[in-house]
Subunit: 297 residues, 2 copies
């Protein structure tokens, strides 16, 4: 039996799904207001969408946009730390981090309920697709896949594109995470939405549910909404239980703050009823560290 308090009682997880404005100040104000609202509704762990302080900056390759980045600690992370302390909640935020000249990251920061910084995660898997030119901006993370022990539970944190990689989810689970949190900024290209939109959103949701099932833990993904230039962000922020059941999901268009009770004790139950961690063939997995094992085609 676990002696960790996080498995002894339910925890309320808050997700902030919102539209981002061109005004960083307005985004910060709105985020802090929504954090306070979530806390007032009982949320103990509050999760923000990817790069919540900004409109999604990667739709073009623009050197000027590096000026949007901040150090950590820095002004925005300090606001989150203060909110965490004042409200007594854990906060998972997502920031455009300036680490040094020429080294920028897409970074999630975890603040404990006393306002201390538990740790941070620098996005490991960096996308690069039309209108998601992240490889131009973000140096791949070098902190690996971790879990963070907070007052209200052990959290794994990935960022957006990471959610397509079962390896990341598994490594966070093996590191002890009971909840995986994916701050997200994913949306449709309007010209693709008619034909592929439903399938794309379903695939995203399927991957998140699969991580919950395969690893026997909760999965939380706050995503932004609204249109910014070429992208329509699809919202549908969600919380999934360790059997893959959808506990709550926001709409695809409205700003919403979800507060969802999650009984972290269910992690233990799921992993004994579906004992996948027992049966992993770890001696046969070395190939996972290879790029390709087939013939070149």
């Amino acid at each position: 039996m676990s002696s960790d308090s996080s498995t002894l009682s339910p925890v309320a997880i808050g997700l902030v799904q919102m539209v981002c404005d061109e005004s960083k100040q307005r985004n910060l104000d709105q985020t802090l207001q929504r954090i306070a609202d979530a806390a007032a509704q009982g949320a103990q762990i509050i999760c923000l969408q990817e790069l919540f302080a900004l409109q999604y900056p990667c739709q073009s390759e623009d050197h000027q946009k590096f000026q949007l980045a901040e150090p950590i600690p820095g002004p925005t992370s300090n606001l989150l730390a203060q909110a965490a302390q004042q409200l007594g909640v854990v906060i998972v935020g997502s920031l455009f981090e300036r680490r040094a000249a020429g080294i920028y990251h897409n970074t999630a920061v975890v603040f404990d309920a006393d306002g201390s910084q538990v740790g941070m995660y620098r996005k490991m898997h960096i996308p690069d697709d039309p209108y998601y030119y992240e490889k131009f901006y973000f140096t791949p993370g070098d902190l690996g896949f971790q879990s963070f022990a907070t007052r209200f539970g052990r959290l794994g944190v990935g960022v957006c594109w990471d959610q397509w990689f079962p390896e990341a989810a598994r490594l966070m689970a093996l590191a002890g995470a009971e909840v995986l949190i994916y701050p997200t900024a994913i949306g449709w290209l309007p010209e693709e939405k008619q034909d592929y939109g439903a399938s794309q959103q379903a695939a995203w949701e399927t991957m998140l549910r699969s991580h919950a099932i395969a690893n026997g833990l909760f999965v939380v993904a706050p995503n932004r909404v609204g249109c910014e230039d070429a992208l329509e962000f699809w919202g549908t922020s969600l919380v999934v239980d360790p059997y893959g059941n959808m506990l709550a999901q926001a709409s695809s268009q409205a700003e919403e703050t979800l507060v969802v009770e999650c009984d972290l004790g269910a992690v233990d139950g799921a992993r004994t009823h579906w004992p996948f961690l027992r049966d992993r063939r770890i001696e046969a997995y070395a190939g996972l560290t290879e790029r390709w094992l087939g013939d070149d085609q």
Copy 2:
């Protein structure tokens, strides 16, 4: 561009979903008839459910049941080889293999369209749950996760419980598989069905779809139907495309033979549009070969 013929044209994949009788002869006869029917409908790759020649033998731990096993090659595998040759189709069968005194496996065999044995896969992840006492019967496989080049495509083959493990799907994809095939025998315990049945079946389906998405390939799962002792097998055999879309799915109760056209060229398209294989952080995945990376609890 690939020079492999498998990516130049669609392939028709057949799945046999059926009830198994206590009579092995009847199961074999029915299977061969359904293989012929599928071939007559144009199927080029025909996939059989797990241990198709038998009622599922693992609901109890019974030493007598080891007598049901056969060597490979052996009588049942020879029947499949003959059918493959006569019909000019690839067949993926699933057998209770006797390898040596005291060494038995749950083995899938792949026959090419000329009747030759391309290879075999011995189930790597062995379940052990109430009414699925497979660890009593099956020695864990020692052939690893492979892909098999056949006349009609490169196939990865897992067996049932393997489908819960993203590692297995990934390794088969990296080995070159364009289609993952999971012969399956999964069902409900009647006393759980009311409360958990829909969730259990959905989780199974979600995992299969997630493998297709994460790896950009087709996933095929033939499952048995019907009640045998304590288990009600849930059928719903399925074919999923590389974006996770369900191309076809059988019912949960009826015997069915599906024949589904799959354009293997879609693998190439999916992997450039969703370039997950490009972005894997292989230098950060070493922990996947560990049992646990967290603190003992």
